[in-house]
Amino acid sequence: MAPLILKNGAISAKSLTKNYGEFCAVNNVSLEIPKGICFGLLGPNGAGKTTMIQMIQASSPITNGKLEVLGMDTISESREIRKKIGVIPQEDNLDPDFSVRYNLLVYARYFGIELDEAKEKAEELLKKVELTDKADQEINNLSGGMKRRLIVARGMINEPELLILDEPTTGLDPQSRHSVWDQIRIFKNEGKTVLLTTHYMDEAEILCDQLAIMDSGRILIQGNPKELIKKTIGDDAAELVALSFGKDEETLNLIEKKCKLMKVSFSRVTDRIILYGKEIENIISEFNDEENLTDIIRRRATLEDVFLNLTGRQLRD
Protein backbone atom coordinates (compact mmCIF):
# COMPACT_ATOMS: atom_id res chain seq x y z
CA MET A 1 0.00 0.00 0.00
CA ALA A 2 1.31 3.43 -0.91
CA PRO A 3 1.97 5.72 2.03
CA LEU A 4 -0.93 8.06 2.61
CA ILE A 5 1.27 10.71 4.07
CA LEU A 6 2.89 13.58 2.20
CA LYS A 7 6.64 13.17 2.05
CA ASN A 8 7.60 16.78 2.67
CA GLY A 9 5.17 17.56 5.47
CA ALA A 10 6.58 18.57 8.86
CA ILE A 11 3.74 16.99 10.81
CA SER A 12 1.20 14.59 9.47
CA ALA A 13 -1.60 13.10 11.55
CA LYS A 14 -4.12 10.60 10.22
CA SER A 15 -7.17 9.77 12.35
CA LEU A 16 -5.10 10.50 15.43
CA THR A 17 -6.74 9.53 18.70
CA LYS A 18 -5.54 9.69 22.29
CA ASN A 19 -7.43 8.22 25.21
CA TYR A 20 -6.58 8.56 28.88
CA GLY A 21 -8.55 5.64 30.25
CA GLU A 22 -12.16 6.43 29.43
CA PHE A 23 -11.44 10.04 28.55
CA CYS A 24 -10.79 10.88 24.93
CA ALA A 25 -8.37 13.84 24.81
CA VAL A 26 -7.80 13.85 21.06
CA ASN A 27 -10.55 12.44 18.89
CA ASN A 28 -9.83 11.26 15.36
CA VAL A 29 -7.79 14.28 14.27
CA SER A 30 -6.26 14.52 10.80
CA LEU A 31 -3.81 17.30 10.20
CA GLU A 32 -1.15 18.17 7.62
CA ILE A 33 1.41 20.83 8.50
CA PRO A 34 3.81 21.65 5.66
CA LYS A 35 7.45 22.47 6.32
CA GLY A 36 8.59 26.07 6.69
CA ILE A 37 5.49 27.62 8.20
CA CYS A 38 4.35 28.71 11.62
CA PHE A 39 1.31 26.72 12.64
CA GLY A 40 -0.86 27.66 15.60
CA LEU A 41 -2.92 25.28 17.67
CA LEU A 42 -5.65 27.19 19.45
CA GLY A 43 -8.40 26.14 21.75
CA PRO A 44 -9.79 26.62 25.24
CA ASN A 45 -8.26 24.75 28.18
CA GLY A 46 -8.89 21.04 27.89
CA ALA A 47 -9.25 21.19 24.11
CA GLY A 48 -6.44 18.68 23.59
CA LYS A 49 -3.64 21.04 22.51
CA THR A 50 -1.05 19.92 25.05
CA THR A 51 -1.92 16.27 24.41
CA MET A 52 -1.37 16.89 20.68
CA ILE A 53 1.99 18.47 21.42
CA GLN A 54 3.11 15.65 23.68
CA MET A 55 2.31 13.11 20.99
CA ILE A 56 4.06 15.20 18.33
CA GLN A 57 7.20 15.48 20.47
CA ALA A 58 7.07 11.68 20.66
CA SER A 59 7.03 11.51 24.44
CA SER A 60 3.44 10.34 24.79
CA PRO A 61 2.32 7.26 22.84
CA ILE A 62 -0.68 7.62 20.54
CA THR A 63 -3.74 5.44 21.11
CA ASN A 64 -4.91 5.12 17.52
CA GLY A 65 -4.20 6.37 14.03
CA LYS A 66 -0.88 7.43 12.60
CA LEU A 67 1.40 10.34 13.40
CA GLU A 68 4.54 11.29 11.52
CA VAL A 69 6.89 14.12 12.41
CA LEU A 70 9.57 15.21 9.93
CA GLY A 71 8.77 12.07 7.96
CA MET A 72 9.37 9.77 10.94
CA ASP A 73 6.96 7.65 12.90
CA THR A 74 6.35 8.86 16.46
CA ILE A 75 6.24 5.31 17.81
CA SER A 76 9.11 3.50 16.14
CA GLU A 77 11.43 6.48 15.62
CA SER A 78 10.71 8.58 18.70
CA ARG A 79 14.37 9.11 19.62
CA GLU A 80 15.21 10.25 16.10
CA ILE A 81 12.31 12.69 16.17
CA ARG A 82 13.30 14.15 19.53
CA LYS A 83 16.82 14.60 18.22
CA LYS A 84 15.53 16.92 15.51
CA ILE A 85 12.93 18.95 17.38
CA GLY A 86 13.15 21.69 19.97
CA VAL A 87 10.54 21.87 22.70
CA ILE A 88 9.66 24.98 24.66
CA PRO A 89 7.28 23.76 27.39
CA GLN A 90 4.52 25.67 29.09
CA GLU A 91 6.09 25.43 32.52
CA ASP A 92 9.50 26.51 33.69
CA ASN A 93 11.52 23.31 33.94
CA LEU A 94 15.00 24.79 33.96
CA ASP A 95 17.47 23.13 36.27
CA PRO A 96 17.58 25.31 39.42
CA ASP A 97 20.81 23.62 40.53
CA PHE A 98 22.79 25.03 37.60
CA SER A 99 23.80 28.39 36.23
CA VAL A 100 22.27 29.81 33.06
CA ARG A 101 25.12 28.62 30.88
CA TYR A 102 25.37 25.23 32.53
CA ASN A 103 21.68 24.62 31.91
CA LEU A 104 22.44 24.77 28.20
CA LEU A 105 25.53 22.58 28.48
CA VAL A 106 23.73 19.87 30.44
CA TYR A 107 20.87 19.92 27.97
CA ALA A 108 23.29 19.65 25.05
CA ARG A 109 24.60 16.44 26.55
CA TYR A 110 21.22 14.76 26.09
CA PHE A 111 21.62 15.38 22.37
CA GLY A 112 25.09 13.88 22.32
CA ILE A 113 26.69 17.26 21.53
CA GLU A 114 30.39 17.39 22.42
CA LEU A 115 31.34 19.83 25.19
CA ASP A 116 33.42 22.18 23.00
CA GLU A 117 30.68 22.43 20.45
CA ALA A 118 28.07 22.85 23.17
CA LYS A 119 30.03 25.71 24.75
CA GLU A 120 30.22 27.50 21.43
CA LYS A 121 26.56 26.91 20.75
CA ALA A 122 25.61 28.08 24.24
CA GLU A 123 27.47 31.39 23.84
CA GLU A 124 25.81 31.94 20.49
CA LEU A 125 22.33 31.24 21.85
CA LEU A 126 22.83 33.33 24.99
CA LYS A 127 23.81 36.23 22.76
CA LYS A 128 20.77 35.64 20.60
CA VAL A 129 18.36 35.84 23.55
CA GLU A 130 20.41 38.61 25.23
CA LEU A 131 21.41 36.64 28.30
CA THR A 132 25.19 36.77 27.85
CA ASP A 133 25.49 39.03 30.92
CA LYS A 134 23.57 36.51 32.99
CA ALA A 135 25.50 33.43 31.83
CA ASP A 136 26.90 32.68 35.29
CA GLN A 137 23.80 33.61 37.26
CA GLU A 138 21.71 31.12 39.18
CA ILE A 139 18.31 30.34 37.67
CA ASN A 140 16.52 31.65 40.75
CA ASN A 141 17.98 35.10 40.14
CA LEU A 142 16.34 35.40 36.73
CA SER A 143 13.08 37.20 36.04
CA GLY A 144 10.18 35.34 34.42
CA GLY A 145 11.03 36.83 31.04
CA MET A 146 14.69 35.84 31.29
CA LYS A 147 13.77 32.30 32.25
CA ARG A 148 11.50 32.06 29.26
CA ARG A 149 14.19 33.35 26.92
CA LEU A 150 16.61 30.82 28.35
CA ILE A 151 14.08 28.03 27.75
CA VAL A 152 13.74 29.23 24.16
CA ALA A 153 17.53 29.15 23.79
CA ARG A 154 17.65 25.69 25.36
CA GLY A 155 15.07 24.44 22.87
CA MET A 156 17.38 25.47 20.04
CA ILE A 157 20.61 23.92 21.36
CA ASN A 158 20.33 20.97 18.95
CA GLU A 159 19.58 23.15 15.88
CA PRO A 160 16.12 21.65 15.48
CA GLU A 161 14.14 21.37 12.27
CA LEU A 162 10.89 21.85 14.12
CA LEU A 163 10.28 24.08 17.11
CA ILE A 164 7.34 23.26 19.36
CA LEU A 165 6.20 25.98 21.75
CA ASP A 166 3.45 25.41 24.28
CA GLU A 167 2.04 28.79 25.33
CA PRO A 168 5.44 30.45 25.02
CA THR A 169 4.46 33.96 26.09
CA THR A 170 1.99 33.37 28.91
CA GLY A 171 2.64 35.82 31.70
CA LEU A 172 5.43 37.74 29.96
CA ASP A 173 5.88 41.50 29.83
CA PRO A 174 5.61 43.06 26.34
CA GLN A 175 9.39 43.28 25.90
CA SER A 176 9.98 39.62 26.60
CA ARG A 177 6.95 38.71 24.54
CA HIS A 178 8.39 40.52 21.53
CA SER A 179 11.78 38.96 22.12
CA VAL A 180 10.20 35.48 21.99
CA TRP A 181 8.28 36.46 18.85
CA ASP A 182 11.52 37.62 17.23
CA GLN A 183 13.17 34.29 17.96
CA ILE A 184 10.23 32.47 16.40
CA ARG A 185 10.39 34.66 13.28
CA ILE A 186 14.16 34.28 12.92
CA PHE A 187 13.79 30.53 13.27
CA LYS A 188 11.04 30.39 10.65
CA ASN A 189 13.06 32.55 8.28
CA GLU A 190 15.65 29.82 8.15
CA GLY A 191 13.03 27.70 6.41
CA LYS A 192 12.19 25.69 9.51
CA THR A 193 8.82 24.82 10.96
CA VAL A 194 7.16 26.19 14.08
CA LEU A 195 4.24 24.69 15.97
CA LEU A 196 2.81 26.74 18.78
CA THR A 197 -0.17 26.83 21.08
CA THR A 198 -1.41 30.04 22.55
CA HIS A 199 -4.37 31.62 24.27
CA TYR A 200 -3.52 35.02 22.82
CA MET A 201 -5.41 35.52 19.59
CA ASP A 202 -3.36 38.57 18.63
CA GLU A 203 -0.23 36.46 18.95
CA ALA A 204 -1.71 33.76 16.71
CA GLU A 205 -2.84 36.35 14.17
CA ILE A 206 0.58 37.97 14.08
CA LEU A 207 2.76 34.86 14.02
CA CYS A 208 0.84 32.06 12.38
CA ASP A 209 0.65 31.35 8.67
CA GLN A 210 -1.93 28.73 9.43
CA LEU A 211 -3.83 27.65 12.47
CA ALA A 212 -6.37 25.22 13.74
CA ILE A 213 -8.92 25.83 16.46
CA MET A 214 -9.55 22.78 18.62
CA ASP A 215 -12.24 22.02 21.13
CA SER A 216 -13.08 18.80 22.99
CA GLY A 217 -10.35 16.88 21.19
CA ARG A 218 -11.43 17.82 17.67
CA ILE A 219 -10.31 20.38 15.13
CA LEU A 220 -13.19 22.77 14.49
CA ILE A 221 -11.65 24.87 11.78
CA GLN A 222 -8.31 25.28 10.08
CA GLY A 223 -6.69 27.76 7.72
CA ASN A 224 -4.92 31.07 7.34
CA PRO A 225 -5.97 33.43 10.15
CA LYS A 226 -7.08 36.32 7.92
CA GLU A 227 -9.01 34.03 5.62
CA LEU A 228 -10.59 32.30 8.57
CA ILE A 229 -11.87 35.60 9.91
CA LYS A 230 -13.20 36.61 6.51
CA LYS A 231 -14.80 33.24 5.89
CA THR A 232 -16.46 32.73 9.24
CA ILE A 233 -17.56 36.22 10.30
CA GLY A 234 -16.45 38.73 7.68
CA ASP A 235 -14.11 41.70 7.95
CA ASP A 236 -16.10 44.02 10.12
CA ALA A 237 -17.54 44.03 13.56
CA ALA A 238 -19.37 46.54 15.72
CA GLU A 239 -20.10 46.59 19.40
CA LEU A 240 -23.31 48.20 20.58
CA VAL A 241 -22.85 48.98 24.24
CA ALA A 242 -25.83 49.48 26.56
CA LEU A 243 -25.95 52.37 29.00
CA SER A 244 -26.18 50.28 32.13
CA PHE A 245 -26.23 46.67 33.21
CA GLY A 246 -29.68 45.10 33.31
CA LYS A 247 -31.78 48.24 32.90
CA ASP A 248 -31.32 48.47 29.16
CA GLU A 249 -32.06 44.81 28.64
CA GLU A 250 -35.02 45.89 26.53
CA THR A 251 -32.88 47.79 24.02
CA LEU A 252 -30.50 44.86 23.64
CA ASN A 253 -33.45 42.51 23.23
CA LEU A 254 -34.74 44.74 20.48
CA ILE A 255 -31.39 44.73 18.68
CA GLU A 256 -31.17 41.00 19.05
CA LYS A 257 -34.62 40.60 17.51
CA LYS A 258 -33.67 42.86 14.63
CA CYS A 259 -30.46 40.91 14.00
CA LYS A 260 -32.35 37.67 13.83
CA LEU A 261 -34.85 39.22 11.46
CA MET A 262 -32.17 40.58 9.14
CA LYS A 263 -29.99 37.47 9.50
CA VAL A 264 -27.02 39.43 10.84
CA SER A 265 -24.74 37.27 12.95
CA PHE A 266 -24.15 38.56 16.45
CA SER A 267 -23.01 37.64 19.87
CA ARG A 268 -24.47 38.95 23.11
CA VAL A 269 -22.23 39.64 26.06
CA THR A 270 -23.42 41.13 29.37
CA ASP A 271 -23.76 44.82 28.49
CA ARG A 272 -23.30 44.67 24.72
CA ILE A 273 -24.13 43.05 21.43
CA ILE A 274 -21.36 42.40 18.92
CA LEU A 275 -22.42 42.39 15.28
CA TYR A 276 -20.51 40.77 12.46
CA GLY A 277 -20.51 40.95 8.68
CA LYS A 278 -21.46 43.31 5.89
CA GLU A 279 -24.98 44.05 7.09
CA ILE A 280 -23.98 45.66 10.36
CA GLU A 281 -24.49 49.22 9.05
CA ASN A 282 -28.18 48.48 8.52
CA ILE A 283 -28.57 47.64 12.16
CA ILE A 284 -26.41 50.51 13.34
CA SER A 285 -28.36 53.10 11.32
CA GLU A 286 -31.55 51.88 12.95
CA PHE A 287 -30.22 52.23 16.49
CA ASN A 288 -27.91 55.18 15.94
CA ASP A 289 -30.04 57.55 17.99
CA GLU A 290 -31.03 55.08 20.64
CA GLU A 291 -30.32 56.88 23.91
CA ASN A 292 -29.96 53.69 25.91
CA LEU A 293 -26.74 52.89 24.02
CA THR A 294 -23.63 54.59 25.35
CA ASP A 295 -21.35 53.63 22.56
CA ILE A 296 -21.18 52.12 19.11
CA ILE A 297 -17.68 50.81 18.42
CA ARG A 298 -16.84 49.95 14.85
CA ARG A 299 -13.80 47.72 14.55
CA ARG A 300 -12.19 45.00 12.45
CA ALA A 301 -13.29 41.47 13.17
CA THR A 302 -10.52 39.58 14.95
CA LEU A 303 -9.49 36.02 15.51
CA GLU A 304 -10.84 36.35 19.02
CA ASP A 305 -14.33 36.84 17.55
CA VAL A 306 -13.89 33.70 15.46
CA PHE A 307 -12.60 31.80 18.47
CA LEU A 308 -15.44 32.82 20.78
CA ASN A 309 -18.01 32.19 18.09
CA LEU A 310 -16.73 28.70 17.53
CA THR A 311 -15.98 27.61 21.05
CA GLY A 312 -18.61 29.62 22.91
CA ARG A 313 -18.25 31.80 25.96
CA GLN A 314 -18.76 29.11 28.51
CA LEU A 315 -15.88 28.89 30.99
CA ARG A 316 -13.63 25.82 30.90
CA ASP A 317 -11.69 24.12 33.65
Partner: protein, 264 residues
Protein backbone atom coordinates in the same frame (compact mmCIF):
# COMPACT_ATOMS: atom_id res chain seq x y z
CA UNK B 1 5.62 2.34 22.79
CA UNK B 2 8.75 0.23 22.80
CA UNK B 3 10.87 2.96 21.29
CA UNK B 4 9.49 5.69 23.57
CA UNK B 5 10.56 3.55 26.53
CA UNK B 6 13.77 2.03 25.14
CA UNK B 7 17.03 2.22 27.06
CA UNK B 8 20.18 3.77 25.63
CA UNK B 9 23.38 3.53 27.69
CA UNK B 10 24.68 6.90 26.43
CA UNK B 11 21.43 8.61 27.40
CA UNK B 12 21.38 6.91 30.82
CA UNK B 13 24.91 8.19 31.32
CA UNK B 14 23.94 11.73 30.26
CA UNK B 15 21.12 11.78 32.83
CA UNK B 16 23.32 10.21 35.51
CA UNK B 17 25.95 12.88 34.80
CA UNK B 18 23.37 15.58 35.41
CA UNK B 19 22.73 14.23 38.91
CA UNK B 20 26.45 13.81 39.52
CA UNK B 21 27.05 17.41 38.39
CA UNK B 22 24.55 18.68 40.93
CA UNK B 23 26.26 16.60 43.63
CA UNK B 24 29.71 17.90 42.69
CA UNK B 25 28.45 21.49 42.73
CA UNK B 26 27.47 21.11 46.38
CA UNK B 27 30.15 18.61 47.38
CA UNK B 28 31.05 20.29 50.65
CA UNK B 29 27.61 19.79 52.16
CA UNK B 30 27.31 16.36 50.56
CA UNK B 31 30.50 15.01 52.07
CA UNK B 32 29.69 16.07 55.58
CA UNK B 33 26.87 13.72 56.70
CA UNK B 34 28.45 10.37 55.68
CA UNK B 35 31.70 11.39 57.38
CA UNK B 36 30.30 12.89 60.57
CA UNK B 37 27.38 10.56 61.19
CA UNK B 38 29.42 7.35 61.71
CA UNK B 39 31.76 9.16 64.04
CA UNK B 40 28.78 10.24 66.15
CA UNK B 41 27.34 6.73 66.22
CA UNK B 42 30.66 5.13 67.06
CA UNK B 43 31.35 7.64 69.81
CA UNK B 44 27.85 7.81 71.28
CA UNK B 45 26.67 4.23 70.97
CA UNK B 46 29.87 2.31 70.35
CA UNK B 47 32.10 3.81 72.98
CA UNK B 48 29.47 5.54 75.14
CA UNK B 49 26.73 2.96 75.52
CA UNK B 50 29.25 0.22 74.66
CA UNK B 51 31.16 0.95 77.86
CA UNK B 52 28.29 -0.66 79.76
CA UNK B 53 28.13 -3.67 77.46
CA UNK B 54 30.77 -6.36 77.72
CA UNK B 55 30.23 -7.75 74.29
CA UNK B 56 27.55 -8.33 71.70
CA UNK B 57 27.42 -11.15 69.19
CA UNK B 58 30.92 -12.19 70.22
CA UNK B 59 32.57 -8.78 69.65
CA UNK B 60 32.79 -5.44 71.45
CA UNK B 61 29.73 -3.24 71.01
CA UNK B 62 31.56 -0.67 68.92
CA UNK B 63 32.68 -3.46 66.59
CA UNK B 64 29.11 -4.74 66.50
CA UNK B 65 27.59 -1.50 65.30
CA UNK B 66 30.35 -0.44 62.85
CA UNK B 67 29.14 -2.75 60.02
CA UNK B 68 25.51 -1.99 60.96
CA UNK B 69 25.85 1.71 60.35
CA UNK B 70 27.47 0.92 57.01
CA UNK B 71 24.45 -1.13 55.95
CA UNK B 72 22.12 1.58 57.24
CA UNK B 73 23.93 4.29 55.30
CA UNK B 74 23.76 2.21 52.11
CA UNK B 75 20.03 1.91 52.65
CA UNK B 76 19.45 5.58 53.42
CA UNK B 77 21.70 6.78 50.61
CA UNK B 78 19.73 4.96 47.93
CA UNK B 79 16.31 5.10 49.51
CA UNK B 80 16.34 8.82 50.17
CA UNK B 81 17.58 9.59 46.67
CA UNK B 82 14.96 7.40 44.97
CA UNK B 83 12.11 8.84 47.03
CA UNK B 84 12.37 12.46 48.21
CA UNK B 85 15.03 13.58 45.72
CA UNK B 86 13.51 11.73 42.76
CA UNK B 87 10.10 13.14 43.62
CA UNK B 88 11.50 16.68 43.72
CA UNK B 89 13.02 16.14 40.28
CA UNK B 90 9.83 14.61 38.92
CA UNK B 91 7.23 16.83 40.53
CA UNK B 92 8.70 20.17 41.60
CA UNK B 93 11.64 20.78 39.28
CA UNK B 94 10.11 18.92 36.34
CA UNK B 95 13.58 17.69 35.46
CA UNK B 96 12.18 14.42 34.09
CA UNK B 97 9.76 16.33 31.92
CA UNK B 98 12.54 18.52 30.53
CA UNK B 99 14.63 15.47 29.69
CA UNK B 100 11.64 13.71 28.09
CA UNK B 101 11.76 16.32 25.31
CA UNK B 102 15.30 15.24 24.35
CA UNK B 103 16.46 11.98 22.76
CA UNK B 104 16.61 10.46 26.26
CA UNK B 105 13.55 8.32 26.99
CA UNK B 106 11.52 7.99 30.16
CA UNK B 107 13.18 4.62 30.75
CA UNK B 108 16.61 6.23 30.44
CA UNK B 109 15.58 8.74 33.08
CA UNK B 110 14.39 6.03 35.48
CA UNK B 111 17.37 3.76 35.00
CA UNK B 112 19.61 6.76 35.61
CA UNK B 113 17.66 7.46 38.82
CA UNK B 114 18.35 3.88 39.98
CA UNK B 115 22.03 4.15 39.12
CA UNK B 116 22.36 7.54 40.74
CA UNK B 117 20.69 6.34 43.94
CA UNK B 118 23.07 3.38 43.89
CA UNK B 119 25.96 5.77 43.39
CA UNK B 120 24.89 7.55 46.56
CA UNK B 121 24.95 4.21 48.35
CA UNK B 122 28.46 3.53 47.09
CA UNK B 123 29.80 6.99 47.98
CA UNK B 124 28.18 6.78 51.41
CA UNK B 125 29.73 3.36 51.97
CA UNK B 126 33.15 4.59 50.83
CA UNK B 127 33.13 7.71 52.97
CA UNK B 128 31.81 5.91 56.02
CA UNK B 129 34.29 3.09 55.67
CA UNK B 130 37.03 5.71 55.60
CA UNK B 131 35.61 7.37 58.69
CA UNK B 132 35.29 4.05 60.54
CA UNK B 133 38.85 3.05 59.62
CA UNK B 134 40.08 6.45 60.85
CA UNK B 135 38.26 6.12 64.15
CA UNK B 136 39.69 2.59 64.48
CA UNK B 137 43.16 3.95 63.83
CA UNK B 138 42.78 6.72 66.41
CA UNK B 139 41.59 4.34 69.15
CA UNK B 140 44.05 1.69 67.99
CA UNK B 141 41.34 -0.92 67.58
CA UNK B 142 40.60 -1.98 63.97
CA UNK B 143 36.81 -1.85 63.77
CA UNK B 144 36.57 -3.60 60.40
CA UNK B 145 39.06 -5.76 58.52
CA UNK B 146 40.99 -4.27 55.60
CA UNK B 147 39.52 -6.78 53.14
CA UNK B 148 36.08 -5.89 54.45
CA UNK B 149 36.79 -2.19 54.00
CA UNK B 150 37.72 -2.71 50.35
CA UNK B 151 34.60 -4.79 49.71
CA UNK B 152 32.09 -2.38 51.31
CA UNK B 153 31.73 -0.05 48.29
CA UNK B 154 31.28 -3.10 46.07
CA UNK B 155 28.48 -4.70 48.08
CA UNK B 156 26.89 -1.26 48.25
CA UNK B 157 26.04 -1.70 44.56
CA UNK B 158 23.47 -4.52 44.85
CA UNK B 159 22.28 -3.27 48.25
CA UNK B 160 21.88 0.25 46.89
CA UNK B 161 20.05 -0.97 43.79
CA UNK B 162 17.64 -2.99 45.91
CA UNK B 163 16.70 0.02 48.05
CA UNK B 164 16.65 2.33 45.02
CA UNK B 165 14.11 0.03 43.36
CA UNK B 166 11.94 0.09 46.49
CA UNK B 167 12.20 3.87 46.56
CA UNK B 168 11.06 4.18 42.94
CA UNK B 169 8.08 1.94 43.65
CA UNK B 170 7.01 4.40 46.36
CA UNK B 171 7.74 7.36 44.09
CA UNK B 172 5.50 5.87 41.41
CA UNK B 173 2.65 5.87 43.88
CA UNK B 174 2.99 8.96 46.04
CA UNK B 175 0.82 12.00 45.44
CA UNK B 176 2.73 14.38 47.68
CA UNK B 177 6.18 14.55 49.19
CA UNK B 178 4.77 14.35 52.72
CA UNK B 179 3.38 10.93 52.00
CA UNK B 180 6.91 9.48 52.04
CA UNK B 181 6.86 9.97 55.82
CA UNK B 182 4.50 7.00 56.09
CA UNK B 183 6.82 4.35 54.60
CA UNK B 184 9.73 6.01 56.37
CA UNK B 185 8.10 5.74 59.77
CA UNK B 186 6.41 2.40 59.27
CA UNK B 187 9.07 0.57 57.29
CA UNK B 188 12.46 2.25 57.11
CA UNK B 189 12.79 3.48 60.67
CA UNK B 190 11.65 0.18 62.28
CA UNK B 191 14.15 -1.64 60.05
CA UNK B 192 16.84 0.77 61.13
CA UNK B 193 16.38 -0.33 64.74
CA UNK B 194 15.20 -3.93 64.42
CA UNK B 195 17.15 -5.49 61.55
CA UNK B 196 19.87 -6.93 63.76
CA UNK B 197 21.63 -3.58 63.56
CA UNK B 198 21.94 -2.52 67.21
CA UNK B 199 21.45 -5.91 68.86
CA UNK B 200 21.48 -9.47 67.50
CA UNK B 201 18.26 -10.98 66.18
CA UNK B 202 18.71 -13.90 68.58
CA UNK B 203 17.39 -11.60 71.34
CA UNK B 204 14.00 -11.71 69.60
CA UNK B 205 11.28 -14.35 70.11
CA UNK B 206 11.26 -16.81 67.17
CA UNK B 207 8.32 -15.21 65.35
CA UNK B 208 9.94 -11.78 65.43
CA UNK B 209 13.16 -13.35 64.19
CA UNK B 210 11.32 -14.77 61.21
CA UNK B 211 9.77 -11.41 60.44
CA UNK B 212 13.15 -9.72 60.73
CA UNK B 213 14.62 -12.25 58.31
CA UNK B 214 12.18 -10.98 55.67
CA UNK B 215 13.49 -7.40 55.92
CA UNK B 216 16.02 -6.27 53.33
CA UNK B 217 18.16 -4.34 55.82
CA UNK B 218 18.63 -7.52 57.90
CA UNK B 219 20.38 -9.14 54.97
CA UNK B 220 22.34 -6.03 54.08
CA UNK B 221 23.57 -5.94 57.70
CA UNK B 222 24.44 -9.66 57.66
CA UNK B 223 26.54 -9.07 54.55
CA UNK B 224 28.39 -6.02 55.90
CA UNK B 225 28.93 -7.70 59.29
CA UNK B 226 30.32 -10.88 57.75
CA UNK B 227 32.64 -8.90 55.48
CA UNK B 228 33.76 -6.62 58.32
CA UNK B 229 34.87 -9.53 60.47
CA UNK B 230 36.15 -11.48 57.49
CA UNK B 231 34.88 -14.90 58.53
CA UNK B 232 31.84 -17.07 57.80
CA UNK B 233 31.65 -15.83 54.20
CA UNK B 234 30.25 -19.26 53.22
CA UNK B 235 27.16 -18.57 55.38
CA UNK B 236 26.21 -15.65 53.18
CA UNK B 237 24.48 -17.72 50.48
CA UNK B 238 21.00 -17.07 51.82
CA UNK B 239 21.44 -13.33 52.24
CA UNK B 240 23.18 -12.92 48.88
CA UNK B 241 20.38 -14.85 47.17
CA UNK B 242 17.79 -12.75 48.97
CA UNK B 243 19.45 -9.49 47.93
CA UNK B 244 19.91 -10.64 44.33
CA UNK B 245 16.29 -11.69 43.89
CA UNK B 246 14.96 -8.58 45.65
CA UNK B 247 17.19 -6.32 43.56
CA UNK B 248 15.84 -7.77 40.32
CA UNK B 249 12.21 -7.60 41.42
CA UNK B 250 12.39 -4.15 43.02
CA UNK B 251 14.27 -2.42 40.21
CA UNK B 252 12.02 -3.98 37.58
CA UNK B 253 8.85 -2.96 39.42
CA UNK B 254 10.21 0.48 40.27
CA UNK B 255 10.92 1.32 36.63
CA UNK B 256 7.73 -0.32 35.39
CA UNK B 257 5.44 1.48 37.84
CA UNK B 258 7.12 4.85 37.37
CA UNK B 259 6.79 4.50 33.60
CA UNK B 260 3.10 3.92 34.08
CA UNK B 261 2.94 7.15 36.01
CA UNK B 262 4.99 9.39 33.70
CA UNK B 263 4.43 8.00 30.20
CA UNK B 264 0.75 8.68 29.68
Amino acid sequence: MKEIQGISPQMVYAVWRRHADVWVRTWRTNLLPPLVEPILYLLGFGFGVGAYINEMGGVSYVEYIAPSILAISMMFGAFFEATYSAFVRMYYQKTWQAIAATPASASDVLVAELLWATTKSVTNATLMTTAILSVGYVVNQPLISMQGAVLMPIVAIPIGLMFAGMGLILTSYTSSIDWFNIPFFLFVNPMFILAGTFFPLSEFPPIAQNIAMCLPLTHAAIVTRTLAYGDGIENLIFSVTYITIMTVIMTYLGVKLCLRRIVT
